[in-house]
Symmetry: C2
Subunit: 379 residues, 2 copies
């Protein structure tokens, strides 16, 4: 026990990242890399509760640092919503909305490409989840018109759309779903964890009731932190104040992301606000990269032409190699890492996800050449 | 609108702390200042989802960085519990336990010195809260024997004790409450947000079912992050897995503090584990400081002799000054800041809280002299 503990303690003195400085293609990470400004803010506000120096009772009302302006002015404009707040992340935002708008036993309707946390958040509330199917292999498209008949059949209390989903990077017709939501008068959550901070997206234009974003996934922030935007009419439900403590929001347990991730989100925001204007180039870069990898025998799953930097590849040629090499599935991770590239989940070869968001065309060219070299080496 | 936004944006380029380098007596902050190791880890793991480089599906099972060893070996031993997990903070840990053990309409019993988030977490679950009273001014002591009759009268589903509370720094007889909990067979939460990481505390020795700690308050971590320890018998209830995703815990929504605050908690842990051994000196330092301030006419509220670094002072002499100076209540903050001291909430003079945890005796001597000088200046 003593020895085991001393080993475990020793590991805590070796907290280093093995992927530092590599070309990063990992979909979870490419939108969350800190800006220089965020890196400075990280050090400045690293100590415990340092955001609360001038707290008057509510995180989103703090004026120094300028959280109030950020949450009450900049975020609503950026998200195209009336009211915004801060959460611990996208999943916590989903739970908060579900928990405040529904009751155990209610049904909600979501897309089949939903993140697993959509299901787990619903399970935590005690909800039945109906899924609008996708089109299956190879495109896995969600056709939002299917929501209409499911609404009629199941009378869900909420609908949710993942925009785009984290598995295929598919962009469904969110605006059409906004019309359907309005037609049936059902609150509509847009989960934009892979959209907000990467690409232009407006809750108002889409016609959603809620928009959710993730700081660590797509807004150049330390983890974990999220944003939640909503129509004014939901403020009193979702951000209801405690009956005992009149300045404390019940669903936020007073304050949510009361620490440095929020400060990095704020510090990166001016850059994030600008970078979404390059979205066309991001999409074109992703399409080019995908086409080049398809020339090597990989098959890109999901929508084509693709409209997001998150790409899912089926790579039977790599899988065949993995079956006959000593490292098995890990050979790909190892080969890429040796070339300064970090992307596919270690162990995966048959099918894996990559994101082109953080790499430039020159770096992606090197990645393409590296895949070629790896295929040659093992052919 | 445009101009207002550009002002708000500009503020984001000025994210600086005004209290950097000051002698810190702010109770929320003295236990959360980062160690050097944590400061390094902060930079290393600052980017978004960087803790998830080698994720296999569950935060607390990640082996690189060594989260699994930390959560499954080091934390249980440190907390004196069977099973530990990571939360976003103490309030989220309370909500998680309440949400998984009770149903809306149930009653729970807590001490009158409870943190406001205990009430708000209960409200979020839909619980009735019964409070075991304190003794009122000036000691505000909670006598745990009062829990017994309240248990008989209200049949609560859970009891909670704040150890110590964040208002007076009172240390109630937690072990006696452990006996009472056992006698009536009621699950018992020890909220140790101001204990775990500052002073020795063991869930097992106290006889509690749950122990809760706060990384940013008392474990030298960036905010927000917390720890939750429990008896083995509660694991299946509180950490129940999703029926759809068998490796995802429902109450954790899969993973909780998936970012850099957790890494700072881990990096600081070897130091935190050691520092609790200096607790006797911490208490003695607090008692000396309190006695010196009482000589100036301040009145220390809460237990005497005091057994914690969190001290609440009633200071009529400062309040009198505030009534006749231009800065009103802010004069004290300003005077202390000019002397390199940060502690009382800006605006407060009549009664305020200080913590002696992070300052040494020489610094505290300077603080005492500064209070003397301020009193002289305005006398």
């Amino acid at each position: 026990m003593e020895q085991k503990n001393s080993k475990a303690l020793h590991k805590l003195s070796e907290l280093h990242r093995q992927h530092k400085g590599l070309i990063n293609l990992m979909p979870l990470q490419t939108g969350g890399m800190l800006t220089d400004a965020a890196r400075e803010a990280l050090t400045e506000f690293g100590d415990g509760y340092s955001v609360c120096d001038f707290c008057q009772g509510s995180l989103c009302n703090i004026t120094n640092p300028a959280i109030r302006d950020f949450v009450q002015e900049l975020l609503p404009q950026f998200l195209g919503c009336d009211v915004a707040t801060i959460t611990h992340g996208a999943r916590e935002a989903k739970f908060t909305v579900m928990h405040s708008l529904t009751r155990p036993g209610d049904s909600i309707l979501v897309d089949a490409n939903r993140h697993y946390t959509t299901i787990v958040a619903a399970e935590r509330v005690g909800l039945n989840v109906i899924e609008a199917p996708n089109s299956g292999h190879p495109e896995f498209r969600v056709t939002v018109n299917k929501y209409a008949s499911l609404i009629k059949n199941y009378a869900p209390k909420l609908i949710l759309l993942t925009y785009p989903d984290g598995n295929y990077g598919n962009i469904p017709d969110a605006r059409r779903l906004g019309e359907i939501a309005q037609e049936y008068n059902i609150p509509y959550i847009l989960n934009g964890a892979y959209a907000v901070g990467r690409m232009p997206v407006s809750m108002e234009q889409i016609g959603a009731d809620f928009i959710i974003g993730s700081g660590h996934k797509s807004m150049a922030s330390a983890g974990p932190v999220g944003v939640l935007g909503m129509k004014k009419k939901w403020e009193e439900t979702v951000l209801k104040k405690s009956s005992t403590f009149s300045n404390k929001e019940i669903e936020c347990l007073g304050c949510t992301a009361r620490g440095v991730p929020l400060i990095t989100l704020m510090a990166s925001f001016p850059n994030v606000k600008e970078r979404i204007n390059n979205w066309n180039e991001q999409v074109s870069k992703a399409q080019w990269f995908s086409a080049e990898l398809e020339k090597l025998g990989f098959i890109q799953l999901g929508q084509k032409p693709h409209r997001h930097d998150l790409l899912h590849f089926h790579a039977p040629v790599l899988y065949e190699i993995s079956k006959r090499v000593r490292e098995r599935g890990y050979f790909l991770y190892k080969e890429l890492k040796e070339r300064g590239i970090w992307g596919p989940q270690p162990g995966l070869t048959k099918s894996f996800k990559l994101s082109t968001f953080a790499a430039d065309r020159q770096q992606l060219g090197f990645v393409i050449d590296s895949f070629k070299a790896i295929l040659n080496k093992y052919s």
